[in-house]
Amino acid sequence: MFDWLQHFADWLIYSVFEFGAETHLGTALNFFVFDTLKILILLFFIVFIMGIVNTYFPIERLKDYLNRKKLYGLEYLFSSIFGAITPFCSCSSVPLFIGFVQGGIPLGVTFSFLITSPLVNEVAVAMFLGMFGVKATLIYVVSGVFLGTIGGWLLGKFKLEPLLSDWVKKILKNKTQNLEYEDENRTFKQRLPEITRGAWDIVKSVLLYVIIGIAIGAAMHGYVPENFFNQYLGGDEWWTVPLAVLIAVPMYANAAGIVPVIQVFVAKGVPLGTAIAFMMATVGLSIPEATLLKKVMSLKLIAIFFGVVTLCIIFSGYLFNILL
């Protein structure tokens, strides 16, 4: 699929700039040009498709669906899937949270959405597709959705309503004022410019991270010896998964920057499951997100929320390492 891009990278580096194909610098530059372009193309493509999905299924419509339909326990799964297809912006998590509980959606179902939304996002999916291929991406997406489902269901069992902030409890008491959802009637052609612009804006905003991430990755490829992690960090010892996850939770890294680095780890002997768990903990949970949620939840609730999700991620890390 990307053969033509490889030809272009070969031509640019070896013919135009005349770096030797057998030199380290030449191959590193070739790798860098090829990877960067490939990922940017994938990124634009996926963000664009998600843009189309979002214009037809805006968040209000999804919420409305969860509200009206009787889903017999499947509401956690649906909420988690909806979380995956909505674009995530950390600053929207609080209004989303309030909007959901205000609409009478149970707290656990709301949590399903809140867990999956940052965990499975279009940028991370595009990066995964570019660096690890289709199979690993599918595992990542499916397990992310599954994790949100289980996490939300577990949190729903805990009866956490008393741990919400006072003003949120007040909102919960009069949740009758439901917002009517009105459909947009614009044609696809009318929506297209806005979708394209949106996709382009997202690609532009992560461009720098992609380039830095791939550059670090390319540099590390040459310097980190083969099987480095197996030799020094006990690549598949039992404690590597929890360690990787615990390091990643407070970290807030852009998916675009972190995936190329993780790819090097995997190439040098870290099991893919450990890498996916690390990735999930990085994008799914972070200190900035906790700070935002502080406005609607008590610290105790945030701790429970983060604790449950962390345990789920660790568990899935083990599961991948067994399965893969």
Binding site: S92, P95, Q102
Partner: protein, 78 residues
């Protein structure tokens, strides 16, 4: 009559670019309007929006969850 424009958003990058677009449109076209940024989450929730940034013109929500183009804003303001 002077229009009242409110921009709802907690200060994320998208909210800032929306503010920039609105300010540009208002000054370039010499529109008589006051621009107010609403950053307090409790105030934002009174408008019942679930995605930020949102644009409110004379107390009507016109755009939510995305950054509009200049032409779009101009059309909304006229």
């Amino acid at each position: 009559m002077s229009k009242v424009i409110k921009i709802l958003g907690t200060g994320c990058p998208k909210c800032q670019s929306m503010t920039a677009v609105i300010k540009d449109v208002v000054s370039e076209n010499k529109i008589d309007a006051t621009i107010e940024k609403v950053e307090d989450i409790m105030e934002i929730m009174k408008f019942n929006v679930m995605t930020t940034p949102a644009l409110v013109i004379d107390n009507v929500i016109t755009i939510k969850g995305r950054v509009p183009s200049k032409d779009e804003v101009l059309a909304l303001l006229n």
